[in-house]
C-alpha cells in the first residue's frame, strides 16, 4: 500500500495532550500538544531529562504514549494493520542519540539499513552478502565526507564518524519526517554546520519536515524556523527564533527547583 504522506491539512506530526510515564516515576512528558507541518524545521531545546528524547521516541513509534494521541501524516499509527504501519514507518527516519548502529557490520550495510522499510526480506539478506545499490549509499557517505569508509567495519570508526553514519542512514532512507536527537554532539563545529546544512537541503528539496533536539543555542537559532522549549515534560515556549529571547533561554536552563527526571527516580 502506498501511503498518501501529504495529508489534507499538510500536517506531518501531531501530538494531542500527549503524556508518557515510565514505570512509577514522574511522567517524562505531561500533556504536550504539538503540530509539525511539511518542510518545517523545528528545534527542541531544553535541559537533559526534560523529555526531548521521549518526545522524539514517541514520534518514531518506539515509545508508546501513556495518554493522549499521536498522529503521523494525519493517520493514527496504532489503528493501522502491520503492513500499512510498516510503510508508514518508512516515511519516518530518526538519528538516535546513542546512534543504535550495528557495530560489527560494514558501514555500507548500516547505511543501507535505511532502505529496509521498502526492501523485501530476500533483498535485504542478499544485500548483506553483496551490497545492493552501493552507489546510493556511497553517494550519501560522500556528502558527509566519509565516502572512503563505506567498506570499513563500523566499530573501527571514531565517535564523530559513527554519528555521520547514523545520519547517512537517514539520508539514504529519504523519509518525509526526520527526527534527530543531538545528531552533532560528537562532530566538530565545521561538520556540525555542514550536517545541519545537509538536513536543510532535505527540507528545501524534498519538503521533508525536521524535528531536531540540539543543545547548542546558536546552532538552534541558525537552523530552526521554530524553537520549542521543553522542561519537566512541558512546553515552555514555542515560536520563531526572533520571538525567543535570551531571557527565555536562560529561564529554560535555569537551575531553579528542578525536578528529578523520571529515570533517576526509578
Amino acid at each position: 500500500m502506498m501511503l498518501d504522506v501529504g495529508s489534507a491539512d499538510g500536517s506531518v506530526l501531531e501530538f494531542d495532550r500527549l503524556s508518557v510515564r515510565y514505570g512509577e516515576g514522574a511522567p517524562a512528558v505531561q500533556g504536550i500538544s504539538l503540530r509539525v507541518a511539511r518542510a518545517e524545521r523545528v528545534v527542541l531545546l531544553g535541559p537533559s531529562g526534560s523529555g526531548k528524547t521521549t518526545l522524539l521516541n514517541v514520534a518514531a513509534g518506539i515509545v508508546a504514549p501513556t495518554a493522549g494521541s499521536w498522529r503521523l501524516f494525519g493517520v493514527d499509527p496504532l489503528a493501522l494493520r502491520p503492513r500499512s504501519l510498516r510503510s508508514l514507518r518508512a516515511h519516518v527516519g530518526m538519528v538516535h542519540q546513542q546512534l543504535h548502529l550495528v557495530a560489527p557490520l560494514k558501514v555500507i550495510h548500516n547505511v543501507n539499513a535505511g532502505a529496509l522499510g521498502s526492501w523485501s526480506m530476500s533483498r535485504a539478506v542478499r544485500s548483506l552478502l553483496r551490497p545492493v545499490e552501493p552507489s546510493l549509499a556511497v553517494a550519501v557517505l560522500d556528502r558527509l565526507g566519509i565516502g572512503e569508509k563505506a567498506f570499513a567495519r563500523t566499530s573501527s570508526l571514531s565517535g564523530g564518524q559513527q554519528q555521520r553514519v547514523a545520519l547517512a542512514r537517514v539520508l539514504r532512507q529519504q523519509p518525509n519526517l526526520i527526527l534527530a536527537d543531538e545528531p552533532v554532539s560528537a562532530v566538530d563545529p565545521t561538520w556540525s554546520a555542514e550536517v545541519l546544512r545537509l538536513l536543510g537541503e532535505e527540507v528545501r528539496e524534498r519538503h521533508a519536515a525536521v524535528v531536531i533536539a540540539l543543545h547548542d543555542v546558536e546552532l538552534a537559532r541558525s537552523f530552526g524556523d521554530r524553537l520549542v522549549g521543553v522542561r519537566d515534560g512541558r512546553v515552555i515556549f514555542d515560536g520563531p527564533p526572533s520571538a525567543v529571547t535570551d531571557d527565555m533561554i536562560s529561564a529554560l536552563y535555569a537551575f531553579g527547583a528542578p525536578r528529578l527526571p523520571a529515570a533517576l527516580l526509578r
Partner: protein, 543 residues
C-alpha cells in the same frame, strides 16, 4: 571469553536474583550436604566391600602398556581409518546441529519478536527442547540403531539430534542477549521483523554463535568416541575390541590417537574462542572472517559426509518405514506397572547417587588440577613443567571415553554404582579441570600481581589472589557439570552395571521394549529435575 559462565550470567542477570539470605545459604549448604550423604549411602560406601584387590595388578599392567602402544603398519592403518570415522561423526554431527540450532534458534528467539510477545516465546522454547536434550546421545544411538540398522547415520544423528536442541536453545538465548535498541530502531524505520533481525541481531551475535559451535565440536568429539564404544565404529569401537581381547598395547594406540585428536580440537577451539571474543568488535588482521569460518565449517561437513559414505535416502527407505511402524507397535504403550515403577524408583535413586558421587570426584580432580595446571605469571621452570604434566593428565582423563573408564573401574572395584561414579568422576574431572583452568587464566591478574610484588610465592598468590575471584565460576561450572553428569550416568551405568543405564542395557538385550520406553521417560524426568535443582542452586549462589 565466551563460555558457559557467560551464558549463565545472561540468564542470571535477566532473572534479577539478589544475593541469598543467610538462611538461603544455609538451606543450600544443607541440601548439598544431604545429597552427598545420600550418595555415600547409596553407593554402598562403607557398607560393602568395594575394592577388588586382585584387580590392581591388572590395572598396573594396563597403565604400564601406555609407553608401549602397538605401532606397526597394520595398526597404523586401522587406527588411521578409525580416527577419520570418529572425526567425521563429530564434524558432521556438529555441522548439522549448528545449522539446525541456528535456524530454529533464529526462528523462535524472543529477539525476533516485539517486546510484548518475547517472554512467552522464550518460555515455550525451553519447554519444547527439554525432552530432546534430556536423552543422551547413546540412547539416541540405540533407538536409531533399531530404525536404521548398521548405518553411519546412526552415530551422526545420535549426536546431531540432542545437540540441535541444546544449540537451538543457546542460540536463541544468545540472540536475545544482544542489545535490543538497534533492532527497535530498524523496526521504527519500517523494516520487517526478519530484515531487522538479519541486520541488527545476527551480526552482533555472530561471534558468540561461532564460539559456541566450536565448544560444541569439542563435546561432539567426546560423544563420537563414546558412541564407538557402544558399537557405532571408529576409535571407540577399536578400543573396545582391544579391551575385550585384553590387548592393552593396542588399546593404548587407540587412546593416544584419541588424546591427540582431543588436544588438537581443544586447543583450536580455545584459540578460536579467545580470538573471536578478545577484540571488542575490531578484527585483528589475521583473524579469518566469520564468512570464511562458516564456509570452512560447511566444507568440512561435506568432506565428512563423503568420508562416511552417507546415504540420506536410507532415512525414508521402505525398510526404515517398516521398522518405524514396528517400533511404534512394540514399544508403546510404555510399561507403568507397579512393580516396574518400583524398580525404576530404586534405580533412579542409584542414578542420582552415581551423578552426585561422580561430581564429588570431578570437583576434587578439577579444583586441584586447575590450580596445578593454569599458566600464570611468576611461576618458575619446575612449576611450569609440573603444570604441563597436570594439563596432560587432565587431557588423558577426558580423552578416554567415560565408558572405557567404567570398564577399567570394574577391574579395580566390584561392579555396581560405585565404580560407575568413580569412572564418570575421572572423565568429567578432565573436562571440568580444563574449564576451570580457563577460568583461572582469564581472571583479573592484578590482585595476583600485587601479591607477587609483595613477595608472596606463586602458590600463596594463587590461594589468596586467584581462588577467591574464581570461586563463583567454580561453583557455577561444577553445578552445570552435574547436569551433564546426570545424562552421562547412562554410559557408565551400561559399562559398570549401575543405575538406569544398566537397566536399559538389560531391557534392550531382552527386547523388553515397553519397559525400555518407561525407563527412558524416567531418565528424562530425572534429568529435568536435576536441571531445575542445579539452575536454582546456581542462581541462589550467584551474586
Amino acid at each position: 571469553m565466551t563460555d558457559l559462565v557467560a551464558l549463565e550470567a545472561v540468564a542470571i542477570r535477566r532473572s534479577r536474583v539478589r544475593s541469598p539470605s543467610t538462611l538461603g545459604r544455609a538451606a543450600i549448604a544443607i541440601l548439598g550436604a544431604g545429597l552427598v550423604g545420600f550418595a555415600v549411602w547409596d553407593l554402598r560406601i562403607g557398607r560393602q566391600a568395594l575394592i577388588n584387590g586382585r584387580g590392581f595388578n591388572e590395572l598396573g599392567r594396563f597403565f604400564a602398556a601406555a609407553v608401549h602402544p602397538r605401532i606397526d603398519r597394520a595398526m597404523a592403518h586401522l587406527v588411521g581409518s578409525a580416527t577419520v570415522t570418529t572425526l567425521s561423526y563429530a564434524v558432521l554431527g556438529t555441522v548439522l546441529s549448528a545449522t539446525v540450532g541456528f535456524v530454529v534458534g533464529a526462528f523462535v528467539t524472543p529477539a525476533r519478536f516485539d517486546r510484548q510477545t518475547a517472554g512467552r516465546v522464550a518460555r515455550t522454547v525451553s519447554a519444547i527442547t527439554i525432552p530432546v536434550r534430556g536423552v543422551h546421545e547413546v540412547l539416541w544411538a540405540l533407538i536409531l540403531l533399531n530404525l536404521l540398522g548398521i548405518n553411519p547415520l546412526v552415530a551422526v544423528l545420535a549426536i546431531a539430534i540432542p545437540f540441535s536442541a541444546v544449540s537451538a536453545k543457546v542460540f536463541s538465548e544468545l540472540f536475545a542477549a544482544q542489545p535490543r535498541a538497534p533492532f527497535d530502531a530498524l523496526r521504527a524505520l519500517g523494516a520487517g521483523r526478519n530484515s531487522a533481525f538479519f541486520y541488527a541481531v545476527i551480526p552482533n551475535a555472530a561471534r558468540d554463535c561461532i564460539s559456541y559451535a566450536f565448544y560444541r565440536f569439542e563435546c561432539a568429539i567426546r560423544s563420537a568416541a563414546v558412541l564407538g564404544v557402544v558399537g557405532a565404529g571408529g576409535l571407540g569401537y577399536e578400543l573396545l575390541l582391544s579391551f575385550q581381547s585384553a590387548n592393552y598395547h593396542e588399546m593404548w594406540t587407540c587412546i593416544w590417537a584419541l588424546v591427540a585428536m582431543s588436544a588438537v580440537v581443544d586447543s583450536t577451539s580455545t584459540r578460536v574462542r579467545s580470538r573471536r571474543t578478545s577484540t571488542d568488535g575490531r578484527t585483528r588482521r589475521r583473524a579469518p572472517s566469520h564468512t570464511t569460518l562458516v564456509a570452512g565449517f560447511l566444507l568440512f561437513g561435506v568432506l565428512a559426509a563423503v568420508a562416511l559414505k552417507i546415504d540420506v535416502s536410507s532415512l525414508w527407505s521402505s525398510r526404515t518405514r517398516r521398522e518405524f511402524s514396528l517400533l511404534i507397535d512394540t514399544w508403546l504403550p510404555p510399561d507403568f506397572s507397579t512393580s516396574h515403577v518400583r524398580t525404576l524408583v530404586t534405580l533412579a535413586r542409584e542414578t542420582v547417587a552415581i551423578s552426585v558421587g561422580s561430581l564429588v570426584v570431578s570437583v576434587a580432580i578439577a579444583a586441584a588440577g586447575s590450580l596445578g595446571s593454569a599458566r600464570l605469571d611468576g611461576q618458575g621452570r619446575a612449576r611450569r613443567t609440573g603444570g604441563w604434566v597436570v594439563r596432560s593428565l587432565l587431557l588423558l582423563a577426558r580423552s578416554i571415553p567415560a565408558a572405557v573408564w567404567a570398564y577399567l573401574a570394574v577391574i579395580a572395584f566390584f561392579s555396581g554404582p560405585f565404580p560407575a561414579a568413580v569412572a564418570l568422576g575421572i572423565y568429567n574431572g578432565g573436562v571440568l579441570g580444563r574449564m576451570l583452568g580457563e577460568v583461572i587464566e582469564n581472571l583479573d591478574r592484578r590482585p595476583r600481581a600485587a601479591l607477587l610484588a609483595g613477595g608472596a610465592s606463586s602458590f600463596t598468590a594463587s590461594i589468596y589472589g586467584s581462588l577467591p575471584l574464581a570461586a563463583p565460576s567454580y561453583l557455577t561450572y561444577s553445578l552445570y557439570r552435574w547436569e551433564v553428569a546426570m545424562r552421562e550416568t547412562v554410559v557408565v551405568g551400561i559399562a559398570a552395571s549401575g543405575g538406569l543405564g544398566y537397566a536399559m542395557k538389560q531391557q534392550l538385550a531382552s527386547f523388553a521394549w515397553p519397559k525400555f520406553v518407561s525407563t527412558i521417560l524416567a531418565m528424562i524426568l530425572l534429568t529435568l529435575a536435576v536441571d531445575l535443582i542445579s539452575a536454582r542452586l546456581r542462581r541462589g549462589l550467584a551474586r
